[in-house]
């Protein structure tokens, strides 16, 4: 099962990003193999529709769960349509590693 966590940097020590469409990086975490892959958000500076495009990207990647601070209305609609589970955590002090530990514990 693949999970995406919005991140502000490219390793697990970076802090968790509360934005979804405009997060700088994403951490793709495989819950079975516990592998993490980081990829940059190409829509971080997009004029508009960053949420939708990012949501589309999640669909392409075949993600089942997305963890972020909030989702815009369009991203929500999109993720809902493709049965991707959304998780909202509004605590900035977390690092990506903290979130991963929380899923695994």
């Amino acid at each position: 099962m693949n999970t995406v966590i919005s991140s502000s940097g490219k390793d697990t020590n970076s802090s968790f990003d509360l934005r979804f469409g405009r997060a700088a990086w994403f951490c793709l975490f495989n819950e079975d193999t516990r592998e993490t892959t980081f990829f940059e958000n190409e829509y971080v500076n997009a004029q508009g529709g960053a949420g939708t495009k990012t949501a589309e990207k999640m669909v392409e990647l075949g993600v089942q769960k997305v963890i972020s601070g909030d989702f815009g209305p369009k991203a929500k609609e999109m993720l809902e349509k493709f049965n991707i589970q959304m998780v909202i955590i509004q605590d900035e002090s977390n690092t990506v590693q903290d979130i991963i530990n929380r899923i695994n514990s």
Partner: protein
């Protein structure tokens, strides 16, 4: 006086706000098609989510209109109207051999978001997810957010 004139204006020019009807679960089909019919079909009948929900509550879950209306967050009279319209649409589809297509309508899907009382994460549970616990801490202590 001011309030009076305002409400008067509203009555004269504006229809009343349509309350959103709560739907517990959307229909798990997009529509129904008649088969073995001789005549060619003439367009679909559009069944709204709330109409599907009304039929389900009244005729499948066998609730009375009072209970069902409460569940959907509307008055009994409104429920009766939606239910009637749903029955008529289905009857029309049968008699005129039309397809039934489900459309969103004025529904709000109830209980989409959940709150975990243990770790305070908020989350959705898509229909493809089998377990209904918190995706972060696996706690069962969750509640739907209204």
């Amino acid at each position: 006086m001011r309030i009076f004139s305002l409400s008067l204006c509203e009555n004269l020019f504006m229809p009343r706000r349509r309350r959103l009807r709560k739907v517990v679960a959307p229909p798990s089909f997009k529509g129904y098609k008649p088969f073995g019919c001789e005549k060619e079909q003439k367009g679909p009948v559009e069944l709204l989510y709330e109409e599907y929900e009304a039929i389900k509550l009244a005729d499948y879950d066998l609730m009375n209109h009072q209970e069902a209306s409460k569940l959907m967050g509307i008055s009994r009279a409104t429920f009766a109207r939606i239910y009637e319209s749903a029955r008529r649409k289905i009857a029309q589809a049968f008699v005129e051999t039309k397809e039934i297509k489900t459309v969103y309508g004025n529904a709000v899907l109830d209980g989409i978001w959940f709150l975990c009382n243990h770790c305070h994460a908020r989350f959705t549970i898509p229909s493809t997810v089998k377990e209904s616990n918190c995706p972060m801490c696996k706690s069962d202590d969750i509640e739907p957010i209204k």
